[in-house]
């Protein structure tokens, strides 16, 4: 039995591994941070819970990406021809499916970019191909991971019923960060609700005129690295003063950006450099973002903090993070308002309810309306067609959210609305 006693010696040696003094302090600190966060989450829970799948966790309420469940193939089919962007390009759900296998839910929305102008560069095709492959690959790998987990769970005495209680859900989708006549910036993301270890996000910003992918150098100039680093370091200091802990450089924290750093373009037209969870700070802080070139304005904050900050700032108006965060009541109310506007053919009210640019899809060609005046100039007869009036009159039933928005109307014509800049607004009218 030489091996066994040797094993005991090995165990003793293992137990002699010295415990650093700071361990307990660090653990305690994390627990305190979460305790605080959790209290907030519980408060939010009442408002957000309706869109969470079944008994999904309270923790899920503080995830950056909400879990939306209303994607079905039939619905996606209707969404396919709902362009939601302005004049030069549109991004649309190219393929969407959801399936459930062994109580593992999978829901995938793969976007595709379409340039309205003729394209010679091949960039759009390449980006679309890459997006497609990324999404499919993530979905497959996530599914395999979940199945492996399931198998292990069942092999070790777990029952199917207990497994079903886990409510494993895998999501792949996209989110538009900003869009102007010049740029289109969006992210592709994937997540699994049982482990954040594989959460992934990739950002794309396209120059619509040049039909190229935009780099930080294009936006900030030759000195982009120095400019971004300086801005980030300043913002880090400010946040540290507010109690945020970043990893030090020795701990693997922020050591400067590179040409490959992730970024998107926000509504202000500024690049926002994004660090994934754990990249430069404890995971408790989630995804961390720095807006570059906005020193005089309120800082972008971590995604989760932004959410709260903005809401505090506009007390009288609810701020929605995305389409999934809107209460059904508010959706119904907004739909009712649209129906009323169309019935009364109230151009002014319509112009106030739109978020620009507004996509107007007509049989004889589509246009993008950038201002209120432009919309009013189109005239009552162009906008409030008899077909639209009829469609709005008949439109009813519960509207389900998707990343692209809510569609009011069964088929054509229809009106698409959704959240932009935290508010509900009309984004497209299709005839």
């Amino acid at each position: 039995m030489k091996r066994l006693s040797q094993m005991e010696l090995a165990k003793q040696e293992y137990e002699r591994i010295e415990i650093p003094e700071e361990l307990s302090g660090r653990v305690e600190k994390i627990i305190n941070q979460y305790e605080h966060k959790r209290r907030e989450a519980v408060l939010k829970q009442g408002r957000k819970r309706w869109y969470l799948r079944g008994a999904a966790s309270v923790a899920a309420a503080v995830l950056v990406f909400a879990v939306g469940v209303n994607t079905s193939t039939a619905f996606a089919g209707a969404m396919d021809d709902v362009p939601i962007l302005g004049s030069l390009a549109r991004i649309f759900t190219f393929r969407s499916y959801s399936e459930e296998k062994g109580d593992i839910g999978l829901s995938v929305e793969i976007p595709s970019v379409e340039m309205i102008a003729e394209s010679n560069s091949g960039v759009t095709e390449r980006v679309n191909q890459e997006i497609y492959e990324l999404c499919e690959q993530y979905a497959q790998e996530a599914m395999a991971r979940a199945e492996e987990y399931r198998q292990a769970f069942l092999d070790t005495g777990g029952t199917e019923e207990e497994w079903a209680e886990h409510h494993i859900a895998i999501q792949v989708g996209y989110e538009i960060k900003s869009q102007t006549d010049h740029y289109l910036s969006f992210m592709i993301w994937g997540n699994e609700n049982w482990s954040s270890a594989f959460d992934t996000a990739r950002y794309y910003t396209m120059d619509l005129e040049k039909q190229e992918l935009v780099t930080l150098r294009d936006l900030l100039g030759e000195d982009y690295i120095a400019i971004a680093n300086q801005s980030i370091r300043t913002q880090m200091k400010e946040r540290e003063a507010q109690g945020v802990t970043f990893f030090t450089e020795d701990e693997g924290g922020f050591a400067g950006i590179t040409q490959d750093s992730s970024f998107y373009l926000n509504e202000n037209g500024n690049p926002v450099i994004v660090f994934e969870k754990y990249q430069i700070a404890p995971g408790a802080y989630g995804v961390i973002a720095f807006e570059i070139g906005a020193e005089n304005r309120k800082l972008a904050g971590t995604e989760e903090n932004t959410d709260t900050d903005i809401r505090q700032g506009s007390a009288e108006e609810t701020y929605y993070e995305d389409n999934f965060a809107v209460e059904q009541e508010a959706v119904d109310e907004f739909a009712l308002k649209i129906k009323q506007i169309v019935e009364e053919q109230d151009m002014e009210a319509l112009a106030d309810t739109v978020c620009y640019p507004l996509y107007v899809g007509r049989k004889d060609g589509s246009i993008s309306v950038n201002h209120r005046e432009e919309l009013i100039a189109l005239g009552v007869d162009t906008i409030f067609t008899p077909e639209l009036s009829e469609a709005m009159e008949q439109a009813d039933g519960e509207l389900s959210p998707s990343r692209a928005g809510f569609v009011l109307g069964d088929g054509r014509p229809n009106i698409v609305f959704g959240v932009r800049d935290g508010k509900l607004g009309i984004q497209g009218i299709n005839y």
């Binding site: 030489k2 091996r3 040797q6 094993m7 010696l9 090995a10 165990k11 040696e13 293992y14 137990e15 591994i17 415990i19 650093p20 700071e22 361990l23 307990s24 660090r26 653990v27 305690e28 994390i30 627990i31 979460y34 305790e35 959790r38 829970q45 819970r49 079944g54 008994a55 999904a56 966790s57 309270v58 923790a59 899920a60 503080v62 492996e148 987990y149 198998q151 292990a152 769970f153 092999d155 070790t156 005495g157 207990e162 209680e165 886990h166 609700n193 049982w194 482990s195 954040s196 270890a197 020795d250 701990e251 693997g252 754990y278 404890p282 995971g283 408790a284």
Partner: protein
């Protein structure tokens, strides 16, 4: 909406209690893999963060131990993988040699060091089994492995160890 409210609160409290009580064990396991004090602290910290943000997936208070170790083990292995990827190809080879049971590292001839030279998944299984005294079923959950694969890995590991110890 089952699972909200008291049930998950109990899980949360149980979890923080468990973490505080067992943090030294977490550290030892992490350290025995990453072999650097700072890195081990990071691994434990990340694992605790993950556990706290996902405690909602913990349905059963009795499963805390396997549930938490699953996260800790993933964090440790992930860390090793990342570190390996970050190194240059030459260094890479070097690490490979160290962790995959090569001569030159056998200078320390006791079983403890031998275990640390095994491939990382086998290492993990042996440490959980003999240092932390997990049952095979529990290890299967922790490693997300089926029981037969687990057993064959464990026996392969023990055989490797036995061989070297006999060669001494």
């Amino acid at each position: 909406m089952r699972g909200y409210g008291e049930g998950s609160s109990a899980c949360y409290d149980g979890l923080t209690e468990y973490v505080v009580e067992n943090q030294n064990k977490f550290y030892r396991l992490a350290f025995s893999f990453v072999r650097s004090r700072e890195d081990a602290l990071d691994v434990v910290q990340n694992a605790v963060c993950k556990a706290l943000s996902h405690y909602g997936t913990l349905r059963n208070k009795d499963a805390i131990r396997t549930w938490f170790y699953r996260i800790l083990v993933n964090e440790s292995l992930l860390f090793l993988k990342k570190r390996k990827e970050e190194l240059l190809p030459e260094d890479n080879e070097m690490i490979e040699n160290i962790s995959y049971y090569e001569k030159g590292y056998e200078l320390q001839d006791n079983l403890y060091s031998q275990i640390n030279c095994l491939p990382s998944d086998i290492q993990m299984i042996i440490k959980l089994r003999y240092y932390e005294e997990f049952s095979l079923n529990e290890i299967a959950v922790v490693m997300g492995m089926n029981l037969n694969t687990l057993k064959s890995k464990l026996y392969r590991g023990l055989k490797l160890l036995k061989q070297t110890m006999e060669e001494e």
